[in-house]
Every structure is written in structure tokens, then in C-alpha cells.
């Protein structure tokens, strides 16, 4: 019986990730979250369901919040990506991360990168959001620990604050 490794079917892609150019050959069936985690070592992007429901793997692709488990790595060819690793500058957490810390917006922390990247995209819209609107906007990312209260408080504060100084993650608007 002849068998073949399906994973041998690969393609080279080029993209920018957190401001750096990357070229990699990837199996065409590898999803984007696995590519980030296991090829690039960017393990801050987590995987929770692989069907686009839980939102653990949310990243920014060309300025949009996207669930990276629903994309194939090959679809990232030419894209500009930002992950949670881009938010802090050196030892300093950015304003969003500091708001999360202040408001006890995380417990186990597994969902946190997803919420942070979603919040980063909401901030870029520049629109004021009510608490009810924030609830709706973040309902694509699940948290099983906090009951969402701390997350809502942190986001209310962050989204109301004037725009923070340019950090790596803020660079997506360029």
C-alpha cells in the first residue's frame, strides 16, 4: 500500500510580523496560529477551539482583528501582522496592558492575548463605545475565569483614554 505524507505539500510565503520581514516555507494545510506559534515561536497567540468561536488566537492582520485559527498560513503571504508580543516596549507595558493589570482583567491569562489584540483594533477605530457596545464587540473572545467584569472596566478606561504614544502595536495604522 503506497501512502504519502500530505504535509509535504508546501509553499513559500513572505510577510511582516511585528514590524519584521519573514520568509518561510509552510505546509499549505498549516493554520496561521500554528505557524505563528510553532514556526516563529510567537507563543503568546493561543489556540482554544480551531473553529473561530473562542477567540484565543485573535491577532491583527492588515489592521483588522482576525482569528488566526481560521486562516491558513499561506493566506498570510504579503500581510502585515501584529501579535501580543508587540504591545509592550522593552520592560514597559502599554496603556492597554496596564489597564488590564489595574482592573484585574485576567486570571489564568490564556484568553488575555486575544482580548488585548481585539482591544487594540477597537482603539484604532477611534469611536467611543458604550459599555453595552463593548460587550457586543468583545463577545467573540471567551473568558472562563473573570466573568468579564475586569475586562470591561479595563476596556472602558482604555478606549476612553486619549491615544497613547506610538508603540509597536500602534504601528499597524501606518
Amino acid at each position: 500500500m503506497e501512502t504519502t505524507a500530505l504535509s509535504a505539500n508546501a509553499k513559500e510565503i513572505g510577510l511582516r510580523i511585528n514590524g519584521e520581514a519573514v520568509r518561510e516555507s509552510v505546509p499549505v494545510r498549516m493554520h496561521a496560529a500554528d505557524f505563528l506559534r510553532h514556526r516563529l515561536g510567537l507563543t503568546g497567540t493561543h489556540v482554544g477551539c480551531e473553529q473561530g468561536v473562542c477567540g484565543m488566537c485573535t491577532i491583527l492582520v492588515d489592521g483588522q482583528a482576525v482569528k488566526s485559527c481560521l486562516l491558513l498560513a499561506v493566506q498570510l503571504d504579503g500581510a502585515d501582522l501584529w501579535t501580543v508580543e508587540s504591545l509592550a516596549t522593552g520592560d514597559e507595558l502599554n496603556e492597554l496592558q496596564q489597564a488590564f493589570k489595574r482592573h484585574h482583567a485576567l486570571q489564568c491569562g490564556f484568553c488575555t492575548p486575544g482580548f488585548l489584540m481585539l482591544a487594540t483594533s477597537l482603539k484604532k477605530r477611534g469611536e467611543p463605545l458604550s459599555r453595552a457596545e463593548i460587550r457586543e464587540e468583545i463577545s467573540g473572545v471567551l473568558c472562563r475565569c473573570t466573568g468579564y467584569e475586569g475586562i470591561l472596566r479595563a476596556l472602558e478606561e482604555y478606549l476612553q483614554a486619549p491615544g497613547e504614544k506610538e508603540t509597536a502595536g500602534a504601528g499597524v495604522a501606518r
Binding site: M1, T3, T4, A5, L6, S7, P27, R29, M30, R37, H38, L42, T43, G44, T45, H46, V47, G48, C49, E50, Q51, V53, C54, M56, T83, V84, E85, L87, A88, L93, Q97, F100, K101, H104, L106, Q107, C108, G109, F110, C111, T112, P113, L116, I134, R135, E136, I138, S139, G140, L142, C143, R144, C145, T146, G147, Y148, E149, G150, I151, L152
Partner: protein
């Protein structure tokens, strides 16, 4: 934030019975009770957590598992030849090899009187539930391993299956384990005291009801995960796992793999949620280790969400038959409860909930009662512990029936509860099941909840709104057992774990303290609370405490984080170890400063003379002297390290009352929870931010289980029909109703610092509070709610059923 802490100062200052007066100085330290930021946050906010899938080794392989698609099937044959031929496949295991290489999965919390079931990591000649592992493959990648699973040819013969506990108990049902049991009743046990039958006969009114509690899942955002590395020359199996109990996983792996515990090191760095589910081992843990030992290469298994729903232990699911007898004057005379917990096909590490028995009389003064647990086997995924573990189930039955009884006796449900509640002077109170409630002011939480929610005003007002919606209010009062009574108590129940916690503190040359604990970090904020207590007792800076958690190679032997017990037990160990370290630091430092020990104090980074702060010595200098053994008093041994183990003498019971305001459309059954108020007491609060986070998180899980979450099996096919994130409706931010929290603070007389546990309480009252509010709103229709989850459809059906009844009458 609607948080009110009412300190009962007299008790807090050590008046409560048994509270050690030596606790007094650390109590007042600025750190204890402060909402300081968490130690855990920085790494998690930067994506720098170390979850199990983030661990990678050179030459690592990956495992996939082939699972039975039927609820019950005989395995006629397995052909792995095609799978083996696939490029990249390194190793395949099937049932017989697993049985040769390992023992059956052991149980940490056996059901008393139950036989050990032959639960192997892979199904032997029969698979007993959908999702049970049948074959496992290790390959160069998960994708290749999954391809290989597709190529395994298994010939199944489907067998008759059972998906309902009452069917499983019925005469003539197929028996799941005919070799070890005559029926599907794994075991039963009964607790009783007084004369419940006699008192029931005296009652003017006896009310009874059958309550069905849904099967749900903990749904941690990180599913299970393991990486196993075997170094044969060193005889060392290192296991990175997503677990709440590293030391207990080590024990079980040693038992099942038949190797010495000394050969195994379990590391749980960051854990993405546990909620009771990640207690002990599951079949895949054994499989990963067997592969790694055979291949001598690292093997990783990361559970995907589809296998999570079928293979990780489920929670809850029970049928309670509850009876209450009362006099016409509103005095409850007796309670009885017979309940069946649906265990699924096998006894998991933590098995079936027993806490339903422990707290079945709730916060009420009932001396005559009996409770019987029947543990039933069905062709479903095994049940394990899940946050609250028996308490939400029995609270739903009890508190819904309390409301029905109050209505029957024409009492206001609030006053009926108040009339029967235990009073502060009743403690310690021994319940009919033998539990001893330590202390509390239960009635006060009831009154506070009623006041906060505007109970009286609400009941007086018209209930129908202009838009046609009906509004109702519902209460649920509760107790929660936190911690364990003692190791002796646990031994009587057959548990294979103790009741103690431990900690090692080790001074370092930088002037800091390394704190080693076997408790892993899965969101409760242990690192923060431990450091807070340690810094508070020692008098050093919070930032000087470095917590090393969840590594059996580094930490003293402990029990682990579950049953809301961590801080109850760990605080005692921390206090003892910190005091020992402090004493030695003071002896060395006082000698170096040429002062008397009583005249010096630790203040942040220095040891100084009380009256003359100019005379001081840096802690880094004292610690260095101690570590080197140079410049210390004669007779003092070198080193500055302390390990302490502590077992709390008894369990501490948290308590409180929840109130829900619900509006419902009587035409459609659609309803919404408009307010949810909870008053809660967890004794002395170490960090109010952590407490609030725990309570809110658990409340939302409890509301999820009450109002939507359900693992539903199709009765005809035995298939799990809500087996993905798209079908299993966990609450999103948009689903959470407004929640108001209030706290009282009655320190427990039986624990260090008066701490009561807090981790699970929020899961307990939501079901009954919402059901009671709906029944109140729909009182004109005579609606009764006896099942969870409560959905618009189930409410609509209940309205239709009661309307049909009344129109037919």
C-alpha cells in the same frame, strides 16, 4: 464597584473561639487585605506565559488519539498496517500493548465500597463511551499523526447503550461492567441522623420534587495538554502537564506506569484554567508517557477542542428526589434526599460528587434528615470534579423546593428562609450528614441581599409591565464547604490524598525569598496571595518574594489546588515557615548589630533597631552570611530555609444569599436576568481583588450552567450532540447580566487568619435564584421549574404545561 465589607471587628480581633491570638500582628500588616496587583500579570499580558503547548523540545514528536465513534461497541479487530506505513509515523499503541505496559487508571477519590474498574488508557475488547481512546499514534507532526489515525481500520460491533441514569438502573438493562458488578449501580452510601421518618410523619405538609441537573463541562480555555520526556540513562520521566495537582499526577503516573515516584517529575508552569477538571490523570497522559518511554523521544499531546468535549471529564449531572416536611407554623421538621449521580462509563480520578450529601440541608436548622447517594454508570464520558462539585446540584433542588413549600404554606419565601436559618449561636452545627458548620451569620446575608435588591418594594409592586412582561424575584441561600475536614476524615472516605499544604521558603543572596509551592497557577492568583502573606508575615517587600509554583522537582510534597482549599491550608504553612525564617534572620542580624533579638525588626529591605533606625543591616547581607555560614553566631547552622506543612483542623464553610430579578414574556418564555445580587462571606479577605475575581468568574460559570450550557446526548444514538464550541453555549461578555456583589466578613474560627475558601461559591446559587424568580413572575400560571438548564424553550413548555393543566381542570 458595589463592594461593601462589613468587618465584625470584635471577632476579627481574635475573640472568635479558637482563633490564635498570635495571629494578631500579621493581621494588621498593610499587605493583608490590600488589592495589590498580581505577580502573574506581567508575563501573561506580554504573551510570555509558559503553557504546556509553549514547551518545545528538540526531536519532539506529537501524538494523536483515535476514538470510538459509538457509545458502546465491541472491538472486533484493529488493522494498523496502513497507518504504520505512512511516512513520519513513529509508534502506534493499541489496547493489548497498553495493558501489558501499564496498569488501569487509579482513582484519587474512590467511591466508598466501589470496585476498581478495569479502566485502561486504551479500550480493551469493548469501548464504553463515544470518544474513548482506542488507538494512539505518534508521528513527526500532529497532522501526520491524525492522517495515520484515519488509516487505522477498526471493525466495531455496536452494542446496546444507556444514556440515562434511571434507565441504567432499570431491571433488565444491559450491564456496563458485568465482570465486576451485577448492575449499573457502582455504589451507594447513606448519611442520616435523628428520626427523619418520624418527623416527616408529624409534619402538616410534606412536599417533594424530582430535580434534574444537566451535564456540563468546565471548559477551561486551555484544554488538556502534556509533554513527556524520558531519559532512560537517568531513569527520569519529565512531564509538563496542564494540571491543578502536579504531585498527585506524579503519584498516579508512578502507579499506572509501574515505576518509582522518584523517577517522575511533573511540571505545571502556567495552566490555562482548571475549575476542578484538571485533577489527576486521564488516559492520554498514560499514552503520552508510554510512547515517550518506548521511543526515548519527547512526545507532546495537545487536546483539541473536539476531543475535549468527548474525552475530558464532564461535570454535574444528577437526579435529586428531595422531600421536606414542615409544620403549619413554617417550621421545617425533616429533609430527605435520594440522588443519583450519572458517572458515565468509568470512575475518573475524582469520580462522583459527594458534596451534595455534605450540604444537603443547606443553611437551615434541620437535625432530622437522611441523604442517599447512588452512583450510576452509563455509556457516557466519565464525570469528574467541577467547581462546586455537588453543591450547585443540591442547592438547586433544595432552594427551589423551599420556595414551593413557602408558597404552599402561604409564607413569603424570604421570611420562610429566615425562620428556618441557623443563627450565630447555633454554631458549631453538626448536620444530618455529619458535617460541622464552623460559624457564620447566615441570616444577615439574607437580609442584606433582600435589602440590596429591593425585595419588599418589589413584592408590593404590580408585576406586569406595560410591555406585557412579567417580573419576578427569587432567592437562593447557600453554604459552601471549603477545604477538607482533615486527613483522618478523608481517609475514612477512602481518599488517596491528604488535607495539608506545604511551602518552602529559601532566602537568597540578593535579599529576596524564593517561595516554592506545589500548587500550580491556573488563575486563582496564588502567586500573589502567597507572596502577600509571606511578605506580610516577614515584613519584607512584596517584590522580594519570588514564587516558584507547580514543579514537583522543586516543591515540597503537597496536595494541590481544589475544593477552595488552597489558601485555607497554605496560609498555615506559610505562617509557620515565615515565622521560622524570620526568627533565624533576627537571631543572626541582632547578633551582627550587637543588639537583643527583641529590639530589632525587619523593615522592607533591612533589619534595624526599633528605637534607632540608623543602626541597620541589609537583609541581603544577613542572608549572605547565613548562606555562607560566615559571620553568624556560634551554634547557628548555616543556611536560611524553612519548610512547613500544615493541615487545617476542620473545613470552613462559606455562606451567603443570592437574589435574581427576572423579566419574562409569558407568550414566548423568553426571559432575561435583569439583576443578580450576591452577598457572600469568605471570612478574612487576603486580597479583595482576587476574591471579587473568583466570585464573579464562578457566578458567570454558574449562570452559564443554569441558563444554557448542556452536554446533551441523543437518547436513540447515544451521541453527544453538543460537542463543539458552536453547540455548547458558554456565556460571552454580551450574555452576562448586571451582577452586584456584597461581602460580609465573619472570620472562621477553625482556619489560619480566619480564611474561608472562595473559589467555587459563585457556581452554587444561580440556578435556584433564577428558577425561583421565574416561578415568582409566572405564579399566576402555577409554573414549576425542576430542570437545568433553564432556557426560553423550557420556560415556554412549562407555561404551556401548566396552562394546559389549568384549562383542563
Amino acid at each position: 464597584m458595589n463592594r461593601v465589607v462589613e468587618n465584625l471587628e470584635a471577632r476579627r480581633d481574635g475573640e472568635a473561639e479558637g482563633l490564635d491570638r498570635a495571629d494578631a500582628p500579621p493581621f494588621r500588616h498593610r499587605l493583608i487585605g490590600a488589592p495589590i496587583p498580581r505577580k502573574e500579570d506581567d508575563r501573561l499580558l506580554r504573551g510570555d506565559g509558559r503553557f504546556t503547548d509553549d514547551v518545545e523540545f528538540a526531536h519532539q514528536l506529537e501524538m494523536a488519539v483515535g476514538r470510538c465513534p459509538f457509545p458502546h461497541a465491541r472491538i472486533r479487530s484493529i488493522d494498523i498496517s496502513q497507518a504504520r506505513a505512512l511516512a513520519g509515523v513513529k509508534h502506534i499503541l493499541i489496547g493489548p500493548e497498553v495493558r501489558r505496559a501499564s496498569g488501569p487508571l487509579t482513582v484519587l477519590r474512590p467511591v466508598p465500597g466501589a470496585p476498581q474498574l478495569p479502566y485502561y488508557a486504551l479500550a480493551q475488547e469493548r469501548a464504553l463511551h463515544e470518544g474513548q481512546p482506542v488507538v494512539s499514534v505518534v508521528a513527526t507532526s500532529r497532522a501526520v499523526a491524525e492522517d495515520a489515525i484515519e488509516l487505522v481500520d477498526i471493525d466495531y460491533e455496536p452494542l446496546p447503550h444507556l444514556s440515562d441514569a434511571l434507565d441504567a438502573l432499570a431491571e433488565g438493562s444491559p450491564v456496563l461492567h458485568p465482570d465486576v458488578l451485577p448492575s449499573n449501580l457502582l455504589a451507594s452510601n447513606k448519611d442520616r441522623s435523628g428520626d427523619p421518618e418520624g418527623r416527616m410523619a408529624e409534619a402538616d405538609t410534606v412536599i417533594e420534587g424530582r430535580f434534574r441537573i444537566n451535564r456540563v463541562t468546565a471548559l477551561p480555555m486551555e484544554a488538556r495538554a502534556i509533554v513527556a520526556v524520558w531519559r532512560p540513562g537517568a531513569r527520569e520521566l519529565t512531564v509538563h502537564a496542564s494540571t491543578q495537582v502536579p504531585h498527585l499526577v506524579r503519584k498516579q503516573l508512578a502507579e499506572c506506569l509501574r515505576i518509582d515516584e522518584g523517577c517522575i517529575r511533573v511540571i505545571a508552569s502556567d495552566v490555562g484554567g482548571g475549575f476542578g477538571q484538571k485533577l489527576g490523570i486521564c488516559p492520554e497522559d498514560i499514552l503520552a508517557c508510554l510512547h515517550a518511554m518506548a521511543l526515548r523521544r519527547p512526545v507532546k499531546w495537545i487536546e483539541d477542542r473536539l476531543e475535549y468535549f468527548r474525552a475530558s471529564t464532564h461535570g454535574r449531572e444528577a437526579i435529586h428526589d428531595f422531600r421536606i416536611g414542615a409544620r403549619a407554623d413554617g417550621q421545617i421538621l425533616a429533609m430527605t434526599n435520594i440522588y443519583r449521580t450519572d458517572l458515565g462509563a468509568w470512575n475518573s480520578s475524582f469520580g462522583s460528587a459527594q458534596l451534595s450529601s455534605v450540604v444537603f440541608t443547606g443553611p437551615y436548622k434541620v437535625a432530622d434528615g437522611s441523604v442517599e447517594r447512588q452512583v450510576v454508570l452509563t455509556n457516557k464520558t466519565p464525570i469528574g470534579a467541577y467547581r462546586g462539585y455537588g453543591q450547585p446540584e443540591v442547592n438547586f433542588a433544595l432552594e427551589v423546593l423551599i420556595d414551593r413549600l413557602a408558597r404552599r404554606l402561604r409564607y413569603d419565601p424570604l421570611e420562610f428562609r429566615a425562620r428556618n436559618m441557623l443563627r450565630p449561636e447555633d454554631f458549631p452545627w453538626k448536620t444530618p450528614s455529619g458535617a460541622v458548620y464552623d460559624s457564620g451569620d447566615y441570616l444577615r446575608t439574607l437580609r442584606m441581599a433582600a435589602e440590596a435588591v429591593g425585595y419588599q418594594a418589589h413584592r408590593a409592586s404590580p408585576k406586569r409591565r406595560k410591555d406585557g412582561r412579567l417580573v419576578g424575584i427569587g432567592l437562593s441561600s447557600f453554604v459552601e464547604r471549603t477545604g477538607y475536614a482533615s486527613a483522618r476524615f478523608l481517609a475514612n472516605r477512602g481518599s488517596k490524598f491528604g488535607a495539608h499544604e506545604s511551602v518552602t521558603l529559601r532566602a537568597n543572596r540578593s535579599g529576596g525569598i524564593d517561595l516554592y509551592t506545589g500548587v500550580s497557577t491556573f488563575g486563582q492568583g496564588n502567586e500573589t496571595a502567597f507572596a502577600q502573606l509571606c511578605a506580610g508575615i516577614l515584613g519584607v517587600e512584596y517584590d522580594a518574594i519570588h514564587v516558584h509554583a507547580g514543579d514537583t522537582g522543586a516543591s515540597p510534597l503537597n496536595t494541590g489546588a481544589f475544593a477552595s482549599r488552597t489558601l485555607i491550608a497554605a496560609a498555615g504553612a506559610l505562617r509557620e515557615a515565615a515565622q521560622s525564617l524570620r526568627d533565624k534572620t533576627i537571631r543572626i542580624g541582632a547578633w551582627a548589630l550587637d543588639a537583643a533579638a527583641r529590639d530589632v525588626e525587619i523593615a522592607g529591605t533591612v533589619l534595624r533597631l526599633r528605637g534607632d533606625p540608623g543602626r541597620s543591616m541589609a537583609l541581603s547581607e544577613i542572608f549572605t552570611r547565613a548562606i555562607l555560614g560566615q559571620g553568624i553566631p556560634a551554634g547557628e547552622t548555616p543556611g536560611l530555609e524553612a519548610t512547613a506543612h500544615f493541615e487545617p483542623p476542620a473545613a470552613a464553610f462559606s455562606f451567603g444569599t443570592a437574589a435574581a430579578v427576572v423579566s419574562v414574556d409569558p407568550e414566548t418564555g423568553e426571559f432575561s436576568v435583569e439583576r443578580f445580587v450576591m452577598v457572600h462571606d469568605c471570612g478574612t479577605v487576603v486580597n479583595p481583588a482576587l476574591v471579587e475575581g473568583q466570585v464573579r468568574g464562578a457566578l458567570v460559570q454558574g449562570l452559564g450552567a443554569a441558563l444554557g450550557e448542556e452536554l446533551r446526548y441523543d437518547k436513540e444514538t447515544g451521541q453527544l450532540v453538543s460537542g463543539s464550541m458552536l453547540d455548547y453555549l458558554a456565556p460571552t461578555a454580551a450574555d452576562v447580566p448586571p451582577i452586584e456583589l456584597l461581602h460580609t466578613e465573619v472570620p472562621s474560627p477553625v482556619t489560619t487568619l480566619g480564611i474561608r475558601g472562595v473559589g467555587e461559591v459563585g457556581t452554587i446559587p444561580p440556578g435556584a435564584a433564577v428558577a425561583n424568580a421565574l416561578c415568582d413572575a409566572l405564579a399566576a400560571y402555577g409554573v414549576e421549574i425542576s430542570e437545568l438548564p433553564i432556557t426560553p424553550e423550557s420556560v415556554w413548555r412549562a407555561i404551556a404545561a401548566s396552562s394546559a393543566c389549568s384549562s383542563g381542570a
